[in-house]
């Protein structure tokens, strides 16, 4: 498995925000919709766009949800693998504004992702319920 693969795997196992951004999908009402057959395709494309719009790189999602999952040295190892190409010298969490900053960033990133995902689907003519 490549480093990127490791990072993604660990991100998935570590991070509630990461998991939700990977798996979360807006609920779409296809009743009476002439575009119902495009829902799956549009969801895939909108997911990618929403990830970009919310700045949800693998590194950021890992950074944002680092409050739990792995214990001790393994946590830092997972973060480093997932962060990959995150900017040198970047800092999050306490250094970025107080205890819990990392978790806050994850929550904000997740909300931005969902908003972007919903808007994208609406722009493509789908009725989004959530």
């Amino acid at each position: 498995m490549t480093k990127k693969g490791i990072g993604l795997t660990l991100c998935l196992s570590l991070s509630s925000a990461c998991v939700s951004q990977t798996q979360w999908t807006p609920t779409v009402d296809t009743y009476g919709s002439s575009r119902a057959q495009f829902v799956t395709r549009d969801q895939q494309e909108c997911r990618e766009l929403a990830m970009q719009a919310s700045g949800s790189t693998a590194g950021q999602t890992a950074q944002g949800a680092i409050g739990g999952g792995l214990l001790g040295a393994a946590a830092g190892a997972a973060i480093g693998a997932a962060a990959g190409s995150a900017g040198r010298g970047a800092a999050i969490g306490a250094a970025a504004g107080g205890i819990g900053g990392g978790a806050v960033r994850g929550t904000q990133s997740n909300a931005a992702f969902q908003r972007a995902f919903n808007q994208c689907m609406r722009n493509r003519g789908h009725t989004v319920l959530s």
């Binding site: 498995m1 490549t2 480093k3 990127k4 490791i6 795997t9 660990l10 196992s13 570590l14 590194g59 950074q63 680092i66 409050g67 739990g68 999952g69 792995l70 214990l71 001790g72 040295a73 393994a74 946590a75 830092g76 190892a77 997972a78 973060i79 480093g80 693998a81 962060a83 990959g84 190409s85 995150a86 900017g87 040198r88 010298g89 970047a90 800092a91 999050i92 969490g93 306490a94 250094a95 970025a96 205890i99 819990g100 900053g101 990392g102 978790a103």
Partner: protein, 142 residues
């Protein structure tokens, strides 16, 4: 246990922190657990890493699974660079630690220093890692 709960418990333990020889002895014991965790990780000794962890910790199984991948695919150097004992009650003890993780050159690994609160819990009379809450991460390169 959620991150918020870890922090709240750690702060309560810190407020209840006693002074004296017992405090120093416990601090040294806990530091030893953290040092053994990093030493064992550095040596890629899965069994030794797991021995530093409480087997009923909610993070035990995820960590055990992750270790297999990390040791197979990475060559990391882990160093405990700071340890501050915070306090304890009858069940838990807390410490704030900073760990540095450095990847091999060209590996793509993002070197970092994590700033965490570790909770310790006794198992069979031995203090072990129970959970942690990462307060922040400083990415240090490459």
């Amino acid at each position: 246990m959620t991150g918020r709960m870890v922090l709240q418990l750690a702060l309560l333990l810190a407020l209840a922190m006693p002074a004296g020889a017992a405090h120093d002895e416990l601090a040294a014991t806990l530091r030893g657990v953290a040092e053994e965790n990093t030493r064992a990780y550095d040596a890629e000794d899965t069994d030794a890493v797991l021995r530093t962890m409480h087997t009923r910790s909610p993070e035990y199984d995820p960590t055990r699974a992750a270790l297999a991948e990390q040791f197979r695919d990475s060559d990391l150097t882990v160093t405990l660079i700071d340890f501050k004992y915070m306090g304890h009650d009858d069940e838990f003890a807390a410490a704030r630690v900073r760990m540095q993780v450095v990847g091999s050159p060209g590996s793509g690994f993002q070197d970092n220093v994590t700033d965490s609160i570790l909770l310790f819990h006794r198992e069979g009379g031995v203090w072990k890692l129970w959970s942690d809450d990462v307060l922040g991460v400083q990415f240090t390169g490459p």
